[in-house]
Amino acid sequence: MMNTDQWLGLITGVLFGFLLQKGRVLRFDKQVGALLLKDMTILKFMLSAILVGMVGILLLSDAGIIGLSHKPMNLGAVLLGGALFGAGWAVMGFCPGTSVGALGEGRWHAVFAIVGMIVGAALYAELYPFFKLTVLAWKDLGKLGLPEAVGISQWAIVPLFWVGIIALFFWFEKKRL
């Protein structure tokens, strides 16, 4: 039987997958279309989610109801890992979450991407001791938030994000991207 933990994950996942599909962001052509700077659907989707989510999460955190959980800003890890992800993403045309959703809407070549990612995860597990002594050991800035990093209040940063991203949305629409 499934516990509360698993049920909650499943329900959240079904809703997430439903919205990803309705937003039409699961498809290879949408993902690669964004990387070719021809179709900004996935950016519109992601940035809209970020704008809305950011306000709620920061308010809840200020109220002491939830805790923030920054991932460490480990320089070597984020820079090299981010670059490797970008390179693989362009060829695969899916990200980890969307690959599973793409399979759900019938794009069955996602199976090869999923198998590749499982092999990649296994490979990373084998190489972890080596990475720990090299890339991961270079410089870790810790669990850093943007407000602390730049010395500006988060409630000054949030409006800047909103204005900048909405301006970008208008530009996307004007250019029909």
Partner: protein
């Protein structure tokens, strides 16, 4: 602004904003019901998937591996979330008849032709490289891109910029010149 796309989908602004609300609700629900705040993310599940597969072949190897021990091979909240994405997409695509069997996407086909084999190799190799990168960076476009940015994490901002920056560069070299 239109609320529906030509093929019956929802505006990406609307669907995205709803994901923002879902992310807030999810953080609240995990904190209240599970006693531990969980943010949306997916790539750790692939580590656990790999752990389950390897366990069938070499159980000792998995239990002695430092990374599998660190990430704990189990069916947790995130594992079920990834499982749920599959069903959510299936339900959504069945509801508006956008479910479509696709072996070779059009952008790929214009550059590499209709061969399933080539697409399989590309998807596989891309998957290997992307997942090594995601585990190294400790997140993917969900964990770093969505959850990291919502919390104003420096790592989320830098990772997302690199995902897109390097992705754009590679996409140009891989597909750009002919499409």
């Amino acid at each position: 602004m239109k609320w529906k796309t030509e093929d019956g989908g929802w505006s990406p602004y609307l669907a995205g904003a709803l994901v923002g609300l879902l992310a807030i609700a999810s953080v609240l629900a995990t904190t209240q019901l599970l006693g531990e705040t969980s943010y949306l993310g997916t790539s750790t599940t692939f580590v656990r998937g790999a752990g389950f597969v390897e366990r069938m072949i070499a159980a000792d190897h998995v239990s002695s591996n430092e990374y599998f021990t660190k990430e704990r091979v189990r069916v947790d909240w995130q594992f079920m979330l990834v499982f749920g994405i599959f069903f959510g997409a299936l339900i959504a695509s069945a509801s508006d008849r956008s479910f479509k069997l696709e072996g070779v996407p059009s952008t790929w086909g214009r550059r590499f032709g209709p061969s399933i084999g080539k697409r399989a190799v590309g998807a596989f190799m891309g998957g290997v490289v992307a997942m090594v990168g995601a585990r190294m960076a400790d997140g993917c476009p969900s964990g770093h891109g969505l959850s990291g940015m919502m919390q104003l994490s420096v790592s989320g901002l830098v990772a997302l910029a690199l995902f897109f920056g390097v992705g754009v560069l590679f996409a140009y070299f891989v597909y750009g010149r002919r499409t």
